[in-house]
């Protein structure tokens, strides 16, 4: 076995290890952004392919993860931009089953689920990193490519939106007697 082949195999094994450890959190992250499990899988696949090809991809896992999440965010943004352009000219593609909806439906806190859906993409991203992945504000800011203070403000506002939405909807459920 020649040295070049060993190196190639070794790199792929390393990358496959990264795929194995990050595919699930990355898919969960993408899901929160695009609300479509199949699309999230496609985006994650595309993001990993770009990471594999890019000479700028960091090799340390923590940096790799930041870079991956930013790539996923960019792809999610691309998707929303394309969808806006397409929505005027094309019929919607029928979705047979959306496992994300099943996941969300299984979550018993329906009020929270509904409230999360009203957040914007960036707010959802910040809330996900902060509360679903327990990231610090500093790390969330690094992943989002913005300043820490911006993330703090974004999370604060998002929590306010969640609180208001949950509060308003719980009030609207009450019936006067």
């Amino acid at each position: 076995m020649d040295a070049a082949f060993i190196m190639k195999r070794d790199e792929r094994q390393w990358f496959e290890g990264i795929v194995s450890s990050l595919a699930r959190p990355a898919t969960k992250f993408a899901n929160v952004l695009v609300h479509d499990f199949d699309l999230a899988e496609e985006i994650v696949q595309e993001a990993f392919a770009r990471m594999w090809a890019s000479p700028n991809t960091p090799s340390a896992e923590i940096e790799f993860r930041r870079y991956l999440y930013r790539t996923i965010t960019n792809l999610a943004n691309d998707y929303y931009r394309r969808r806006v352009r397409r929505s005027t000219s094309e019929a919607a593609i029928p979705v047979v089953v959306n496992p994300l909806e099943l996941v969300e439906a299984r979550a018993s806190d329906e009020a929270m689920q509904a409230a999360l859906n009203i957040l914007g993409l960036r707010e959802r991203q910040a809330i996900y990193l902060r509360y679903f992945e327990d990231r610090s504000f500093a790390e969330t800011a690094r992943i989002m490519g913005t300043r820490q203070v911006t993330v703090r403000v974004m999370v604060h506002r998002a929590l306010g939106k969640l609180r208001r939405h949950i509060s308003e909807n719980s009030l609207s459920d009450q019936v006067a007697i």
Partner: protein, 475 residues
């Protein structure tokens, strides 16, 4: 109005539940690996050691930097002096080939199922790759051993999770994720009927189809009390369903956990005996119990726990044991592979340990002591595995197709006859010798290919691949 801390706690609780119920991502992992396997090796920057300074102490690093800087300075001084003394001339730098690294091309489609019932008759499912949701999916049938293919069925959506056909090929069942879609044929695929799930099964969590007629789904029920699931059973390919049990998930599937979950895999050996592999969790509220599978002996009506003794001197428990579903080669002999994993509480990559095999010769009533096995590939978790008999297994988790004939102790590569850069994505064996393999082949525009072996995978013959969703053939 809800206080901030209370809202944050509620958000975190929601996040934990979301994580617990999130579907498996093994499929996307395999597609990513398939795609990068098709790409050329990465650039020199990638090829550098990944921990260039990780082992070096700070002092050593600083000394090395100073030394390199001094060396560079010396080279510059000497070089400049020499250059001044040389006559001026034009130098053409030698042209060296720079490898062009580009993003691995997206294959036009993926194989999502493959099943042959004889040397001549078989079906294959092809799902188009795109970024607007997976699919559509196309089902093709061959009746001449893969020389020609006829498109029988198409639907918008991901490929089937199960493709089951009777031995004579007359009865067939195609089942997607979550039971959608569910197509049935009783005439070899000339006509396909779309079946409905039971109305109460609104959130299918687990499903398994033993053959073209019999299957189970376990679904959460839309009831006021959350966490109640129904077991639904069919013996006529989904034409009719019977609810055979009503289960409290938090009660019946919470062994060692503070709350129950239906995340995992369901498998049945026969109409009575089945298993669920639980997902492994980390965090608080987990009781240290031995590694286990959920087991039923009455067709899913009631479920218990079947514990697996940890290998000697190995600390394995439900948080660290990652099970593959039991694989059976007949009604008595089977094997369960479990990989020791350590999943951190919070962000971070799991630490992967050794893989162990438990075998049974009485239909899963009793399992052997754990035997350490070697799994080819990267060792990052359980691979896709085909169990041909108790000791002969095939795996194709990386670009390698490998076989063991001694229960995982030794492995041999089965590359004979397969063109280079061929990545197997679906395997189907009728017996230890006769099998088919669906693959993606590397090129600037990756293509799909189908191969056949009649000597247990030692040699492969290329068959014709069906066209890509009505377009010209892809390879």
């Amino acid at each position: 109005m809800e206080a901030r801390t209370s809202l944050e706690e509620r958000l975190r609780a929601y996040a934990r539940e979301y994580d617990r119920e999130f579907p498996g991502t093994g499929g996307v992992e395999r597609r990513i690996v398939a795609r990068i396997t098709l790409a050329p090796a990465r650039s020199a920057r990638f090829s550098s050691p990944r921990w260039p300074w990780g082992m070096a102490g700070g002092l050593v690093r600083e000394l090395a930097i100073v030394a390199v800087l001094l060396l560079l300075a010396g080279v510059l001084v000497v070089g400049a002096t020499k250059l001044r003394s040389l006559p001026t001339r034009t130098v053409t730098p030698p042209v060296t080939a720079t490898p062009q690294i580009s993003k691995p091309a997206l294959p036009p489609a993926y194989w999502t199922a493959l099943h042959f019932v004889s040397a001549n008759a078989g079906w294959i499912a092809e799902t188009k790759a795109n970024q607007t949701g997976a699919g559509p999916t196309f089902i093709y049938k061959t009746t001449d051993g893969g020389r020609t293919w006829q498109q029988q069925l198409t639907w918008d959506g991901p490929g089937p999770q199960y493709a089951r056909f009777s031995a004579n090929g007359s009865h067939g069942l195609l089942v997607g994720l979550g039971g959608v879609p569910l197509f049935k044929t009783v005439d070899g695929g000339a006509d396909w009927q779309r079946m409905a799930l039971p109305a109460q099964a609104t959130q299918v969590a687990l499903q398994y189809f033993l053959n073209a007629d019999e299957g189970w789904i376990i679904s959460y029920l839309s009831e006021a009390t959350p966490g109640i699931a129904g077991v639904f059973h069919t013996t006529d390919g989904g034409q009719s369903w019977t609810q055979t049990a009503r289960l409290d998930v938090n009660q019946d599937f919470s062994h060692g956990l503070s709350g129950g979950s239906l995340q995992g895999n369901l498998v049945f050996l026969d109409s009575s005996n089945g298993w669920i592999t639980p997902a492994n969790y980390s965090g608080t509220g987990i009781t240290p119990v031995p590694a286990y599978l959920y087991v039923t002996h009455d067709g899913g009506k009631t479920w218990g726990v079947q514990e697996f003794a940890a290998p000697a001197a190995v600390g394995m428990n439900p948080s660290t044991a990652s099970f593959l579903p039991p694989g059976f080669v007949n009604d008595r002999e089977g094997v369960v592979l479990v990989t020791q994993e350590s999943v951190p509480n919070g962000p971070g990559a799991p630490t992967i340990g050794a893989t162990y095999a438990y075998t049974t010769s009485d239909g899963g009533d009793h399992w052997s002591a754990a035997q350490k096995v070697v799994i080819p590939g990267n060792g990052y978790g359980p691979p896709a595995m085909v169990v041909l008999d108790a000791r002969t297994w095939l795996t194709f988790n990386a670009s390698q197709l490998e076989r063991t004939t001694d229960g995982g102790v030794h492995w041999e590569s089965l590359a004979g006859g397969l063109p280079p850069n061929t990545y197997a994505t679906e395997l189907d064996f009728q017996d230890v010798n006769h099998g088919w393999l669906a693959a993606i082949r590397s090129s600037a525009q990756p293509t799909l290919a189908v191969f056949q072996t009649s000597d247990g995978g030692a040699h492969w013959t290329a068959l014709t691949a069906p066209p890509l969703g009505g377009q010209p053939a892809g390879g």
